[in-house]
Every structure is written in structure tokens, then in C-alpha cells.
Amino acid sequence: MEFEPVIGLEVHVQLKTKSKLFCSCATEFGAAPNSQVCPVCLGHPGVLPVLNKQALDYAVLCGLALNCSISKFSKFDRKNYFYPDLPKNYQVSQFDKPICGKGKITFLINGNEKTIGITRAHLEEDAGKLVHSETGAESGVDFNRTGIPLLEIVSEPDLRTPEEAYMYLHMIKNIIEYLGVSDCNMEEGSLRCDANVSIRPKGQEKFGTKVEIKNMNSFRNVQKALAYELERQEDEILGGGIIVQETRLWDADKNQTFSMRTKEEAHDYRYFPEPDLVPVKLDENYIKSLENQLPELPFDRMNRFTKEYTLTGYDAQVLTSSREIADYYEECANLTDDYKAVSNWVQSELLREINEKKISIKESKVTPSKLTDMLKLIQKGVISGKIAKIVFHEIMRSGKDAEQIVKEKGLVQISNPDELKNIVEKVIKDNKKIVDDYKGGKEKSFMFLVGQVMKATQGKANPQLVTKMLKEAIG
């Protein structure tokens, strides 16, 4: 029997507002425990929530970017459960009237377009964080995170493979980063993901019993957990068993999921309308004004890049995978018309360098003008591509202009035959055997000779010229 996986994802995105969702506390990550708290977010007696306007703006912006319908009427509800990280023992969330309704996103997977439906996106407050002592004898709560606005984005069960789920997450992160409304950092917890997964015999319309997976702390882990879970479910069914509706936790060390609680043990959250907040009513003008603030989104930008800069789909996808990189690329593209060369340099050298250094592209000393100036030196034949790598790393280190570096380090390409004549002759004289091999038809030997000339000139010789001169000299 062949099975088809059915996957839906719930993504929680922390919105990067200046203050919390219902009070004026700061939202800085990494502050000293309980230094960003007040009676409101600590759930003291008598406090009331006041909705943060910026959080509402951000939620609507996200909704628009995810092609969601924006609700002109939405409201907040209380989700009741007891846990020490939840000061009021209820979470203010949205139940039946979320701020964002149905939507969809499109992304490329293996060169093909895939569209995934969004069921809804709603605003809610984050909980605090439990901290346990090493012996486990004591537990503390850090309430700094309590009340930070979260947008929960729920996908339709449209995903069919763990890889699609991975690409979907990337696109969500990409879109939200483009909006600048979240850091989308899974390690810092500003993006979290739970998955609903089931399988059904291929061709069957009815969904199988779904299992919820939690505790995945990277996109790769989501992919791995889904792959594990799909296999587990298939084995279970093929072995004559049945799938139990339950919540399972992903253990990244053991690469397995473990049952946490079954449906029977599931919470009854006793949702009811939050009486301390008035419903949110939005008018057309407000929604329009936010629509006008939307930047060009990654998928559109990718398509434009392929046309405008004649890039392959893959290149355009990499270059638009973050707003910063795409902005950088476009700035370069304004300074040169060698789009392909810029694309290569950005994707290979630049991205590798900033990833290694763990800096943002904006922090890199290789600015778009410095990069394109260097590319011009290659175009003009002043330096070779190989030398350019040396120059690039020097710009990265010192921030100096390419031209200056070339001058200071004497890296100018030797394109004058007179300067190379003696070296070529010496290489031929010193490598008689190799020359004979080449003459005998061993093509590889010729490359060795080129290499010897390059070595003797510290890589500065113009490789085309060297080739030409060697061929002429050997005859």
C-alpha cells in the first residue's frame, strides 16, 4: 500500500514590537530575568490589558503579506489552563474571530511552484519561561517573555512531504523578515513551530488520524521529525496497528518522537470572550494604509530578478532569501551590468564569509560599491579572478578599496608578454619531461606548465596570455 502524508504547520512568530501586547514593558531578548515586567504582565490583582496598536499593525501586515483576508471585526478570548509560566492562568488569545482569515503562500520547490493555504493567523500573548536548578529541586519563572505579542499562523493540511514543510517554513520566515516585524530566530524562540501530521492511503480523500508534534527547535528538526513520524505511522499501520490521536514530543538527541499526552488527556481550554478588551474593528482605510506599506515580497522579487537580471530560478531564490541580501544584490546591479558575476560573488564568497563571521550583510566591509569596483578591475583585466579572491578577503578584512589593495600589494595582473617571456622560457627549460609528455598527447601536462608560470608570478600572470605564450613556445 502506498501512503500519502498530510501535514499542517502551526507557526508562532514573536512580533518585534517596542512594548508587550497588553502593557508597556520592553521586549528586549536576553535581559536579566524578571527585569521587563510590571503588575499587568505579572497578573497582579486588578490589572487590565490594553491592546498594543503596533502589534495590531504588525499582525495585519503579516496577514496581508500572507494573502489573508483581514477581519473587519475580530475579538480576543481567554484560553484557560494552569501553568506557572502563565501568570493569570489564562492566555489572552483569539478563538473564533481571528484577525486574519484565509490566505495562501507560494514558493519554489525543486524548481516547481507550490501553493499552500493559510487557515488563519491570530494574535496572542506569549507565556514566561521556566528555569530549573541543576538538581531539579527548585524551579523559577522568568516573566520577561510573558505578554510579548505572538502571531500564530496556521496552515491548511496542504503539505505533502517533510521537504515541503521545510520550504514552507523558510518562505514564512522569509516573508515575515521582509516585513521587518519579527526576528524569526528559532534558537531565540522568536519563531516556533508545531506540526500536525497524518497519513492516508494514496487516493483516499478522508484524512487519517492526526498526531501533533511539538518541541522542534530548527527547520531541519521539523523536517527530520516529520520524516520520522511518517515512517512511524506507516510502520504502525502496516504492522496492523492504529494511529492514536495524541501529542508527541520530538527528541533531537535521539532523533525520535515520544508520546506526551493522548486526546483523552487533552486540555479543555474553556475559551470564552475576553471581557476586559473590546472587539477590534478595522475600517477599509486602515487596511489600505497598511497595504501601501507592504514591501515587494520575496516570491515576487524572485520572479522579477529572473527577468530583470536574467538569473536562473535557483540563483534568484537564493538572492531573495532575505531582504538584506536582495537589497544588497540590487544595489550592486545598479552599479554594474555583469549581473551574473555579482550573483556568483554574492552567493559564493560573500554569503560564506558573513555566515562564517556570523555578521549581517550590512555589517560586511565589502559594500556593494567596493564589490562592483573590484569586479570592474577583473573586467578590465587588471586582476585575474584568482587574484580577486585575495583582494576580496582583504576588503573584507580592512575595508580598503580594491584598487588601493591591488596597488599596495602589487597584485596587478601581468599582461605584458615581455615581462613573461623569460619566465615562460625558464619553465619550459626546467620541465623538459613534462613538455615531452604534452607533446606526446598528455593534455593534463599543459595545465601543470601553466600552473608553474602562475606560481612563479605569485598568480599575477594573465592566464590567457600564459596559455597563448606557452603554446607558441612549445610549438
Binding site: G43, P45, L48, Y90, R270, D276
Partner: protein
């Protein structure tokens, strides 16, 4: 006559003439508390030292001819569910033992801004749940008119303190009648404003969509003054309404000639005390004597109000009171073995019977499978009740009813019969469900000398209309001038 027995308006007059000082008033009130509170038990907490300090500051301002607030130097008692920075707000519950306010409620902030002098916390039914002040971890408050009787609730301590001259002014909160019913039973004036008129920020919530802070005073004029001070929009309370606050005292003294007073026929059915019914009928005559026109009206969904209230109020309470868990503040059971145990033991030890009953009821009506049948339906009934009033207020300007179906009853009389106790609020509950303002004023006495209160209900944000009608009634009656003997 001692200063403590005077009204705020009288005292402000004397202060302005520099015949007395604020310290004189505060000292007089504390002298009274020390004299009678062992009999009444209206107070949970007093802060004499700071009250006198504050009085001296105000007196100094007066001497220096600096600008003074509207309540310059007048003492006020707060219900024990209103936050006042550093004070031990207990809600008359064991569960908040050791907790001191981390901030001040907006209404209290407004009192301070107008130079009122907070003197302490009044007793109440635990978390404002009750109609008799018997559900308090700090003992029952006694009715100054007969100390064998309850003062009403849940703002029983506030009402008793005003009636016994242990304060000049008091704040209370009213979720289903918690200001008006004790005001009625203690023979004082008690007003619950329109929902949204007064900020709830800093009021420990019982049922958020019904709670409203209000005023308890000796006279209507004092009430109008105090209401003016605490009313108004507050950015910290999203449910408070941004609407201009009328100068309530300026509306008193208007003629009520032609004022249409609705008398709901559904409120005069079986179960009502004869003496209460007689009083209402006499009151109608009094109003007629001043030119008002009684109109018989119908509020057809009245019968469902109590049931509707106990579903909505307890549902909200079950969430509102969830935070009292022993984790961050207040009492924590020392015997807990694990987390669940900690929640269970803390709540079992900390909450009283009635609070537990309502939390359980509220949890039940919100549970999956019951939500539609109870909570959702109650919300629909609430809308119907609101519609009843909307219809009626097209024909009349205000509505006159008894405040409570009976006068004060004996301590212990209804404690074992919660349903009977719940009916104490049968005339007041509808106004909370509809969000309307209501005032209870002294309207007579029983043969045995217990006060009977009349309730006037008004259109939303027309507190000045019911205050004016109440003032007109007060001017033409002597009930408010009679005082309990407490020697």
C-alpha cells in the same frame, strides 16, 4: 454635632470657612471608629498615621492658599478590592494574605488627586461574592441599625461604615447589586454607575463584564460629588468609555415635573416583603407629589435575570480568580508535594465556601459540551434583558423599584441556602446585565426600625437624571436624617 456625623458637602463648607481643619475631621472619624467598630466590624484595615499626615498636608495647602481638590480633606473608606499602593488589599480572602498593592487603582488615584483622605479598607464578602458580608475571612460586618442583622453585601463594610458615621464617604463595587443592596439595608445612598463610566483599573475583578466601582454616601449631594471625582475615561481600562463627565452636583435641584418614572409590573409579585411593597407605593406618591408621572412598564425577561447572572458572573470569575495560585504572591500552601498539589492545597485552604462554589459553577458552564447550553445561552438572554430596557427607556426617563425584596435579615439566616441568598439581588442584577446606572436611596423603615431602600435606574450615562430625581425625593423626605443609635 460631631464632625464624623456630617456630610461631605457640610464639611467642605466648614473647611472653606476655615472653621475646622482636615485633621479635625480625620481625628473625629477615627475617634468614632475606635468607639463603635468593635460592634460593627466594618473595617479590615485602617491607616490612621498616613491619613493624619495627608490631612496635615491638605491643611497646610489650605493655609497657604494653594489650590485644593474637590474633596480637600474629606475621609473616604475603600472597599477591600480596590488597590491602593502598599495597602494590604485582601478582598476579605485568606488567599491574598501578605499581599500589598503594587500600584494604585485609577479611581483611588482620582480621589487622591482631589485631596480626599483614604482611611482604610472596608470589609466585604470574599472577592465580592455574597449579599450579606458573611463570606469574609475577617468576620461578619454587623448592620448598625440592628447588630444581629447583616449589612448586606458585598460592599457591606462600606455601607455599614457610612451608616455608622465611621467614614464620610465610601467606595464600593457592584457586580449584581453589591453597592445598592447594602446601601438599602444600611439606610445610605449607594450608586452603581453605567458600565464604563468609572475605570475598573485596580479593582480586583470578580466578573469583568458586570463589575463597576461606585459610591456610598450619607446624602445624594455627597454622592453626586464623589461620582464626579471618580468618573471618566481611562487609557488603562479599554472598557471605560471616552465621554465627557457631567458636573453631577450642578444637576441637582432641577425640577422633576413631568419626569416619567417607570414601575415594572414584574417586580411586584410574590415573595416581596409587605413593608417593602408599602414603602415603594408611598415613594411613588412622594414622586407624584413633585410632579413626576408614574408609568406602568413591563420588563418581560426579568425572571431569567438571576440565572443569567449566575452563569455569566461565575464563568468570568472562574478565569479571573485563577491567578490566585500561590505561585507569585499571596498565600501558598506549605504542604504541597508537587505542582498540582500546590494549586489544589493553596486554593482549597485560601478560598472560602462561596468562592469555591462559584469557581466550580463557572468552570462547569464553560466546559466543553456545556458552553453552548449555558454560557452562550446566557449571553443571548443578557441581550434580551438589555433590549427590554432599551424599549422601556423610549417611554420613561427612569425606573423605580425596591432595591432589595426584604430588609436586612438575621446573621446566619440564609447562609445554608445559597439560592435564597441569590434572590437578594433580584432587583439589582438586571441593571448590571444591561450595564445601566442605578441608585439606592433611603425610602422608609420597617416597624422594627430597619431601613428600606428604593432603587432608581436610568438610561446609560444619565446618572444626573437619577441623581436629580433621588435628590428631589430626599429633599421631601426625612429618612436620610434618621441615624442608627449605637451608643
Amino acid at each position: 454635632m460631631s464632625l464624623y456625623s456630617k456630610t461631605a458637602v457640610e464639611l467642605i463648607g466648614l473647611l472653606n470657612k476655615k472653621e475646622i481643619s482636615s485633621r479635625d475631621i480625620v481625628s473625629s472619624v477615627f475617634q468614632r471608629i475606635e468607639q463603635v467598630d468593635t460592634k460593627i466590624n466594618a473595617f479590615i484595615y485602617t491607616d490612621k498615621e498616613n491619613a493624619l499626615k495627608k490631612a496635615d498636608e491638605i491643611d497646610k495647602k489650605r493655609v497657604n492658599a494653594e489650590p485644593l481638590g474637590l474633596l480637600g480633606g474629606v475621609p473616604v473608606v475603600l472597599k477591600s478590592n480596590l488597590c491602593c499602593f502598599t495597602w494590604p488589599v485582601s478582598c476579605a480572602s485568606k488567599i491574598l494574605k501578605g499581599y500589598n498593592c503594587a500600584y494604585t487603582a485609577t479611581s483611588v488615584e482620582k480621589l487622591l488627586r482631589e485631596d480626599a483622605v483614604p482611611i482604610g479598607y472596608a470589609n466585604m464578602d470574599e472577592f465580592a461574592m455574597g449579599s450579606s458580608c458573611e463570606n469574609s475571612a475577617f468576620g461578619v460586618t454587623r448592620n448598625p441599625w440592628n447588630t444581629d442583622c447583616i449589612p448586606g453585601g458585598s460592599s457591606g463594610g462600606s455601607a455599614a461604615a457610612v451608616a455608622a458615621d465611621e467614614t464620610i464617604l465610601a467606595l464600593g463595587s457592584d457586580t449584581g447589586g453589591s453597592i445598592r443592596q447594602p446601601a438599602s439595608l444600611c439606610g445610605v445612598v449607594g450608586l452603581k454607575p453605567t458600565y464604563g463610566r468609572v475605570s475598573r483599573f485596580g479593582l480586583v475583578a470578580y466578573a469583568s463584564s458586570l463589575d463597576q466601582i461606585g459610591t456610598l454616601t450619607k446624602t445624594v449631594a455627597d454622592n453626586a460629588l464623589l461620582l464626579k471625582v471618580i468618573s471618566g475615561h481611562d487609557c488603562s481600562d479599554s472598557t471605560s468609555i471616552d465621554r465627557k463627565v457631567p458636573d453631577y452636583p450642578a444637576y441637582l435641584n432641577n425640577s422633576i415635573k413631568g419626569l416619567k418614572i417607570g414601575i415594572p409590573k414584574e417586580y411586584f409579585v410574590d415573595g416581596m416583603d409587605n413593608e417593602v411593597e408599602e414603602s415603594v407605593k408611598k415613594s411613588i406618591k412622594t414622586f407624584e407629589g413633585q410632579g413626576a408621572v408614574p408609568v406602568e412598564i413591563s420588563l418581560p425577561h426579568t425572571d431569567y435575570a438571576v440565572a443569567c447572572y449566575y452563569i455569566i458572573a461565575t464563568a468570568e470569575a472562574s478565569a479571573n480568580l485563577a491567578r490566585f495560585d500561590g505561585i507569585r504572591y499571596g498565600a501558598r500552601s506549605p504542604q504541597a508535594e508537587n505542582l498540582i498539589d500546590l494549586y489544589e492545597k493553596t486554593k482549597s485552604d485560601g478560598f472560602g465556601q462561596e468562592v469555591k462554589r462559584r469557581i466550580l459553577l463557572g468552570t462547569y458552564v464553560l466546559s466543553s459540551g456545556y458552553y453552548e447550553a449555558y454560557y452562550k445561552k446566557a449571553q443571548k438572554v443578557r441581550t434580551l434583558i438589555k433590549n427590554d430596557f432599551d424599549t422601556v427607556f423610549k417611554k420613561v426617563d427612569c425606573i423605580l423599584t425596591p432595591t432589595s425584596p426584604t430588609p436586612a435579615f438575621k446573621i446566619g439566616e440564609k447562609t445554608n441556602d445559597p439560592l435564597k441568598m441569590y434572590l437578594s439581588d433580584i432587583f439589582t442584577i438586571s441593571l448590571n446585565l444591561a450595564g445601566l446606572p442605578g441608585i439606592s436611596i433611603p425610602g422608609g423603615f420597617t416597624q422594627s426600625g430597619l431601613p428600606i431602600g428604593m432603587q432608581l435606574a436610568g438610561r446609560p450615562f444619565e446618572e444626573e437624571v437619577i441623581l436629580n430625581a433621588a435628590y428631589s425625593f430626599e429633599k421631601n423626605t426625612l429618612f436620610h436624617t434618621t441615624k442608627p443609635t449605637l451608643s
